[in-house]
Symmetry: C2
Subunit: 410 residues, 2 copies
């Protein structure tokens, strides 16, 4: 941070770590140094325990938008700090900002007030957390050393630990659309993050979740926000999205002590969704963060793309596969994602998949709807989708959404 160590030496160190790895104690040290380079939050004793979730990112992943108000409704204070989208995965913050007027540039004072008044807050990556990680990340980006388990661990955990949590759940995705495609690599990252979290006294668990195909039925900012709102209203949630969200919420309730055990946590989560208290928390947060709650109450008021195009099954067949990464890139091509930092995005465009992998469709039945700016974009997207979708005549077993749970004991 003071320029004392030259960039070329840091670059060489990063490459050495990339190839040689770090042991748990070294990973912890790097995490600590990064965390201590910036601000660290502490909280008032009043209110429930403090918890948060981190996801390694996926396509159609709107879990945070549901999980934060859901856990808040169950008594956990959630000071959620989220990132923006880059590349084939869209960011929670960008989805949230579909709501007119909503502020995400929150300071610690805002978090204090929001946690007191609402129970949770959702803001953007503050500059004050782990500035050393920002510097290091920029250098990793230009030296090809991003994909290193210990460096990813330190980057994620230094910021999450700076939030001052009492429990942390990690959604580590694997499969086509995940940052780490291989399950074994995802497991390795999960173990490394759990080890570091626990070594700082923060109860930490991870779920490995499947990211072969998009999560839920929608991909795109306004569309995903709408899907999240409908899950919070208890309206016909897509089963895999519900499975991932409730599993993470239940573990966070148990980890933080907000629920005595898994059974009670499950009950609390179900009640918060069915009873509307989770949805009420979202509305309260939107209001408290300066947003207009109307499009939350009635998601049809959210931005809508002018052109819609239904894509239909060519014949009776089972939907066998929909590669998530290519779908994520398609959103970028429609204008709904960033190729470079700071780029403007169109929050209205996106894709809806009314049917899931494993479903049998009749010939002519719509399996995708493109929401595009214009007909040309929509037709291009159709071409891509028809080229990547896989059909089968045989039954295709649905893939489980949560494939593994990891905690320190394992």
């Amino acid at each position: 941070m003071e320029g004392e160590v030259k960039e070329y030496q840091v670059a060489a160190l990063l490459m050495a770590i990339y190839f040689q790895g770090l042991d748990p104690a070294e990973t912890r040290t790097v995490t600590r140094i990064m965390m201590e380079s910036g601000e660290r939050w502490t909280w008032s004793d009043e209110g429930g325990p403090l918890g948060d979730k981190h996801s390694t990112g996926g396509v159609g992943d709107k879990v945070s938008l549901i999980l934060a108000p859901l856990c808040a409704a169950c008594g956990v204070r959630v000071p959620m700090v989220s990132g923006r989208g880059l590349g084939h995965t869209a960011g929670t913050l960008d989805k949230l900002e579909t709501i007119p007027g909503l502020r995400t540039d929150l300071e610690k004072d805002d978090y204090d007030r929001l946690l007191r008044e609402v129970g949770f807050a959702m803001g953007g990556q503050t500059e004050s957390f782990a500035p050393l990680d920002r510097e290091t990340y920029a250098l990793r980006d230009v030296t090809g050393t991003i994909e290193s388990i210990p460096l990813i661990t330190a980057s994620i955990m230094s910021k999450k630990l700076a939030e001052g949590l009492e429990g942390l759940v990690l959604d580590v995705k694997w499969g086509d659309g995940a940052f780490l495609r291989e399950r074994e690599r995802a497991r390795e990252l999960a173990r490394s993050m759990i080890e570091v979290g626990e070594s700082f006294g923060v109860p930490t668990e991870a779920l490995l979740t499947d990211m072969e195909s998009p999560l839920g039925r929608t991909v795109g900012h306004a569309l995903e926000l709408k899907e999240a709102v409908e899950v919070l209203k208890g309206r016909d949630p897509e089963p895999r999205l519900l499975e991932v969200t409730t599993a993470l919420a239940e573990r966070l309730l148990v980890l933080t002590g907000a629920a005595p055990d898994e059974k009670e946590a499950g009950r609390a989560v179900r009640e918060a969704l069915q009873g509307g208290t989770a949805f009420d928390k979202l509305v309260a947060m939107v209001r408290a963060q300066g947003g207009d709650p109307a499009p939350i109450e009635d998601p049809d008021l959210l931005a809508r793309a002018p052109c819609r195009l239904e894509i239909r099954a060519p014949q009776d067949a089972v939907l066998a596969g929909l590669p998530a990464r290519r779908v994520g890139r398609l959103l970028v091509e429609l204008g709904g994602g960033r190729r470079t930092k700071g780029e403007e995005i169109d929050r209205a465009v996106g894709l809806v998949f009314p049917r899931a992998v494993g479903d049998r469709l009749a010939a002519g039945e719509p399996w995708a709807v493109v929401h595009a700016r214009d007909r040309t974009g929509a037709e291009k997207a159709r071409g891509v989708l028809e080229s990547i979708v896989a059909w089968s005549n045989e039954p295709v077993p649905p893939r489980p959404a949560v494939t593994e749970r990891l905690s320190r004991m394992q």
Copy 2:
């Protein structure tokens, strides 16, 4: 060289190569790029074939001072470019400059004249060879990536190949005082350099030679020059020093075609040493490079240290070991070496070992003579030598000096 690639990216690349290595084609490419970053010499067709030797460096290694005039006397033109000493190994150039007036800052024009008039020349590392290697080496130094076989190969061979040779012999040392201590690593480096040399059409061979203890009887600039001169005069050469030097010379004669086979090469080398023609070549070179030949004719005229201290065997015993690296460092401590580049050195100080490892000594017989600036330095050196020398009651077989010969076919 144009600053287009950032230093941090080069540093990351060097570290990646350090851990991942390069395959032969990649090593050749890096060597070629480095070589092509600078000047490349070509020679007149008149005169013998062009050959040179490179050594990875050792303690007491005065082979170049003997080999260059010896091969010149046998009909090989030797445009030898040598380095300065740094750390525990002294440099050929520094030893040569013990001769008053002798110029080593030779330009290509000087080499042309010297090869025409004398048959060989010994100059310093020219700035015009492989400037990219210089830049890269500086970055390797500060990023801990010096010890990488492909990078060492490219660094050495880019400069040697720029000399425009028709044959190259490599003295790759292993053991305590060598740059690469392990024999297997030395072998790996030898193979890599041979592969690159041959791929550029330069017949290249390597000898692996032992560097557990110092080579020859002397360590120190004036002392080593004197020993070299005495070998050239055929006066009682130390057997291991003679073995390494003649083996390298013979292979270079065969490789360049200056001798039809090993037998003829051996005969030519013996005659040049015994007949005085090798020594005459040295005198001619010294004269042609502006030096005073008197101290070559009579080495007692060379600089001499004011204080001498004999160290004697404490009892009847066999000299079992004398670790070369520590002896090399001792020369630096006496003032006869550089800790940092450009430092002044005392060319008169040094060490003489009248007896070799494997010799049986009587109690009180001198086994080392310290040549120091003063009594304090000499006593300190005595302490070090007495602490590192190993004695044995059992016979100790002498170690062979040349342990392996490597050529492309192997």
